[in-house]
Amino acid sequence: MSRNLIELLTRFDAGAGAPTALDVLKQAVDDHGEVTDDDRRRAAELSGLPEATVHGVSTYYDDLTQPRGARHVRVCTGTACWAASGSDAHVAAAVAALGVGLGCRSDDGALSLGETVCLGFCHTAPAFRDGETVDAGPGALDRIVAGHALPAVEPEWESTLAEPVLIRPGDFSGLRQALAGLTPEQLLAEVQGATLRGRGGAGFPAGQKWSFVARNPAPPAEKFIVVNGDEGDPGSYIDKYLMEQNPALLLEGMALAGFAVGAARGFIYCRSEYPRSKPALEAAIARAVSAGELGENILGSGFSFHVEVREGAGSYVVGEETALLASLQGLRGVVSARPPFPAERGYHGKPTVVNNVETLCNVPFIARHGAAAYCELSPGATPGSKLICLNERFVRPGVYEVRFGTPLREICERLGGGLKDGAPIKALQIGGPLGGILPGSLLDTAFDFAALAAEGCMLGHGGIVAFDDATDMRALARHLLRFGAHESCGKCFPCRVGLTRALELVEADAPVDRGRLEELLETLEVASLCAHGGGMPAPIRSLIRHWPAELGVA
C-alpha cells in the first residue's frame, strides 16, 4: 500500500468524513449503471486521491466492471451452486432463459446478466439475484424470468452445545460485565488465556494480535478495530448468518476488542454480495447506540466506541487483511507484503486489529465466563466452538455450532442427515476454495486444525461443501481454478500467471502432464505472496492424490 496515498487520504479525511473513492464509484454504478470518466474525476475530488489511482480502483472490482442494464440479474457461480448439479447448468439456463450472455447487457439496455461469487444461499442453491432480491433453490430462475423474484429463505441454525457461544443472541451482557469488573489488561489476558484462534481461515491467535495494538501508546482515536466480514469463500454463509441474524453479538465483541486494546473506532467491512448485511448491521448499531451500549461513554463507563459499516464491491482477495484495509480506504483491493503488519500500520497507517466476524463473536462469552470455561468447551481440542455450514446437497443444510474435534461423520450424517436421495458423499471441500478435498471414505477425520491438516485439508472458515457420487472431478478442478484465476489480485507474479496456466492445463481437452502440473502447484505454494495463490493448489493436490484417473493426470 502506497504510504503517500495513505497520507493523502488521511489528511483529506481528517475530521471531514470524506467518502472513499470506492463508495463514490459504487454509487455511480447504482445511479447510472456504469463508471464514467466524470465519475472518476468526481471520486478523485471527493476522496482526495489522484485521478489515475481512482481509475485503477474502477477497473479492479467486479461490481464496477460488469455492464449493467436497467435491470441487473446475477447468477451465483459459487461452489455450492456448482455442486447442486455438478456443473454450471444453472448459468447456461439463465443465459438461455433471459436471452443475454453472461457479463453482457441487452442491446436496448433493459437487462444485463452478471456473475457473482458467492451469494451465501448455499443451503438452497442454485442462487440468483435480481436487483436487491436474492432468490434461490427450485423454481428460482423461473420466477426471475417471470419478473417475480421471491426472497430466498434464510438457513436454519442450531447449536450442539448446552450453552451456545455463537448461536445466542448478543445482549451486551459480556460488555457490561467487563466494563464493570475488568481492566483492559485483564480482558486482554482472558482472551490470550482462552487461546482464541482466528476463525477467518489462518487460525492466528487473536489475543496476540490484540496485544501488539494494546501496547502501542497511540491514543484511542488513532487505533482501530476492523472487522473482516468479507466472507468470500464460495460455500460459506457463517459470517452472513452472524452479521444478519445476530449482529449485536458482533458489535459486543468489537466493543470488547476496542476496550481491551484502547481503540475508540471500528469498521465492519461487509460484502456487496450479501445485500442484507449492511442494513442489518446499521440497524443493530442504531439500536445499540440508543441503548447506550455503543457510542459515547458506553453504559456510563467512560469508554467510547463508534462503529461504521462499509461494503465491498466484488473481490475475493479483499478477504486477505492487507487487501481488506486497502479496500476499506477505497483503494484497489490488492495484497501488500507484511511487515508492516496491520497492528503496526493499518487503517490510515495507524495501529489496527483486523479480526474475522466469527472470531469477535467469541469474545462476549470469554468476557462473561472467562478463559477457563472457554477452554473446556471442546475437551482435548482447539478451545471454543466453531460454526460450520452445510450446502444444499445435505438433507438438513444450515448453520451449526459444533465443538472442535467433532468427527466429520457426525457433522455430515447426524446433523446434516446425509445427502439427498441417499446419495453417497463422494467428497467434501472444507474451509473454502483454498481447502483440500476429503474423500467420503475419510469421514472419521476430526473437525479440527491439526486433524484436517494431516489429510491435506484445512479447517479454514468452516464452510463444508459436499459433492455427490455423480461429480466429475476434472470438472471440479476446472470450476475451482476458474474461480482462482478470476480472483487473483494480480500483484504477485506466480499467482497472476500461474493460476491462469493451471486453469489452461485442466481446461485443455487432453491428459494433464502430472510432473508439469505438480511443479506449477509447487511454484504457487512456495512463491505466492498471499494464501490465494499459496492455497489454490491444495484442492488440486487432493484431486491428484485421490482421483488421478478422473483428473486425467498422466
Binding site: 485521478e51 473481490s315 511487515p339 494480480g490 496456466r501 512463491a527
Partner: protein
Amino acid sequence: MSTPGVKLTMDGAELEVAPGTTLLEAARAAGLWIPTLCFDDRLAPFGACRICLVGVEGAKGPVASCTTEARAGMVVETQHALSRRIARNVVELVLSELPVPPAPHTELAQVAQRLGLDPTAGPAAARWAGVTHEPQLDHRHPYLALQHELCISCGRCVRACDEVQGAFALTAVGRGFHANIAAGLGAGFAESSCVSCGACADTCPTDAISERLLFDLAAAPDHRGAAR
C-alpha cells in the same frame, strides 16, 4: 553512539548489518547476487515478483529477501536450491505471458539468462505456455511509448511516479492475468498528470514503457497504431 548491528550468517560468512536492513540489502552489500524483477533500490520494497527467494534456517520455506528484515542469528542461504528453482519457474511463467521475447538489453532478459532460461526462445517454449497479452501500443505522448503487452505488473513505474516524482500519473489496472498499467484515466500520458520525467521508463524492466527516441529506433513498423 551507534546502534548495535544485527549479526547474521549469509552463505557461510558472518555479516553485521544495521537494524532494519533487509536480507536483499545485506546480500547486495556483501556482493551476493539475488534475482529480482520488482525491486528498485530507489523505491520501497514491494514483494510482487517473488523471485528474490532465499533459504533461512528454521523457516517453513523460502522467504522473499526484499521484504524480510535481517534478525540476529539468522542463517541465510542465497543460493538455496529450492528457492532458485522456484525463482526460475516464476521467470519462465513471466516469459510465457509476453507475446514476444523481451529485448536482450532488458532486465527481464538478463535475469532470465542468469537463471539459465533462454530469453529469446519465445512464449511457446515455456513449460507452461498459454494465452499471451494482446499487443497494444500507445504512441500518443511525444517522449514516452507504452507497449502494454510487455507489462509484467511489477509496479515499478507506478511506484516511481508516486515515490520519486510524486506525480501520481500512473496506476495499476485490471486484475489477475489481465493486470496492466495505465496513465491518468487511461487516455495516455499526455492526458494525465505526467510531467515527462521519464522515471517510469528508466525503471521499467521490460521496456513496456520506453523513451520514444529509443523506441522509434528499435520499433518494428507493424507495431504502430493501436491505442489504449
